[in-house]
């Protein structure tokens, strides 16, 4: 299979490989895919609670070169975006940017799923934090 130069570049020089502290309230983690399908992506975002902007993003991917490139590209795009802007990223944007062939479209779908899962996790944590903060605040009120 011939890979596009952009896929090769992301594969050889992946951006933002690594992990963020998953218990941090401002970090959202998405883990999608399954080993038996040949793709697992972990994508994390760190959101500045004051501005709602994604300050940092990291990924780790088990999968083919296109899967690695899709998640690497996703972390690049996420940085500096607000949570709502991040949710607007579509798998087709990734397909176009990386010139993915039809058999690799599932890699971009997985990357979009990973973004959504990471942000959902962040939002869940925020709701929990707000709720517990509200609870703690109650007795003094």
């Amino acid at each position: 299979m011939a890979y596009s130069n952009k896929v090769i570049d992301h594969y050889e020089n992946p951006r933002n490989v690594g992990s963020l502290p998953k218990d941090d309230a401002n970090v959202g983690t998405g883990l999608v895919g399954a080993p038996e399908c040949g793709d697992v992506m972990k994508l994390q975002v760190k959101v500045n609670p004051a501005t709602g902007v994604i300050d940092d993003a990291k990924f780790k991917t088990f999968g083919c070169g296109s899967a690695i490139a899709s998640s690497s590209l996703a972390t690049e795009w996420l940085k500096g975006k607000t949570v709502d802007q991040a949710l607007a990223i579509k798998n087709t944007d990734i397909v176009n940017e990386l010139s993915l062939p039809p058999v690799k479209i599932h890699c971009s779908v997985l990357a979009e799923d990973a973004i959504k899962a990471a942000i959902a996790d962040y939002k869940k944590k925020q709701t929990a934090t707000t709720a517990s903060a509200a609870k703690e605040a109650q007795p003094t009120a």
């Binding site: 090769i8 399954a34 080993p35 038996e36 088990f62």
Partner: protein, 408 residues
Amino acid sequence: MAIKLPIYMDYHATTPVDPRVVEAMVPYFTEHFGNAASRNHPFGWEAEEAVEKARKQVADLIGANAKEIVFTSGATESDNLAIKGVAGMYREKGNHIITAVTEHKAVIDTCKHLEKDGYRVTYLAVKKDGLISLDELKAAITDKTILITIMAANNEIGVIQPIAEIGAIAKEKGILFHTDAVQIAGKVPFNVNELNVHMASLSAHKMYGPKGVGALYVRRRNPRVLLAPIIDGGGHERGMRSGTLNVPGIVGFGKAAELCKQEMATESERLRNLRDYLNDKLHKQLDELYINGSMDHRLPHNLNISFAYVEGESLLMGINDVAVSSGSACTSASLEPSYVLKALGAGDDLAHSSIRFGLGRWTTKEEVDYVADKLTSVVSRLRDMSPLYELAKEGVDLSTMVWQTEGH
């Protein structure tokens, strides 16, 4: 010695033609171009003589008589001819065929085709080491069984089936036994009489001969095997395979078989040492490697390893100056991993992480060193970016995890 890149280590897929084979073939393209079926002039006689010499060379490699060799276009045709030929010829005797799940597609799909025509096929499972169970084979035999077709050595994992034992069972029960001997022939001793084989498929391009030529060994005595032809025409090859003979290809096949026979003892030992060296070196440099298939019953030049937590295609991408194969079929239109590895029960994740190494006549120790070191660095790099490796190192049991696979 400087290494020439890329390195070829995929000798199960195909082999380069040995220059000595090319040399033998060349005159048969231009000078001696005759049709071997032309009985009334010297051009035909020369071609026929060359074909008969090659027939003897191929027969000698497997302990057969020259008259028992039917030349074909390759092993896929040989497998088709053996299976469909027996099915067609012995339809009145029965309609049951026994094969195994790890067979080559040329056998499996031929059997599937026959199922549509009303034949019944038993696909034997294999054990974790890739071998079939002889007890299961015996249990599968019915009074309607007309053919057992089990490959000698597997093309992915190199596992050698108990051919002599299967041959003995087939003989005792009076059932015909065909074996796809493509990977074993010319590599380690394989004798159709010692093994009680009735039919065996061979391919020239897997033994340093040209592509587009193969053979089917068809036993003539004890018992005499009859096959219904699958190609009709001029009645060449004792009526079993019509079509003008590929004389240069057959000459090359003969020469290739002769060379394999001459060099088999030293070459198989040399390759076994190199293969074991590769295996040892990888195990010293990396953890969590899993060998697919039995190491005791295996071709000396084959190694198939799963590099846990690393996906096969991304691994191949990282070692793009080394030609090997992966059991991860993310590379093809189907996203299914190798059915052979799945049959071993290794789990799809390990099937996706596998690499097949096939060593051959021009493999050197320097190349093996290069491949082992390159793999070590790429596997390490990919594990550093693998969420599975991270989870495993945190002590998470991946097999009990619930994965989010919705929509995939």
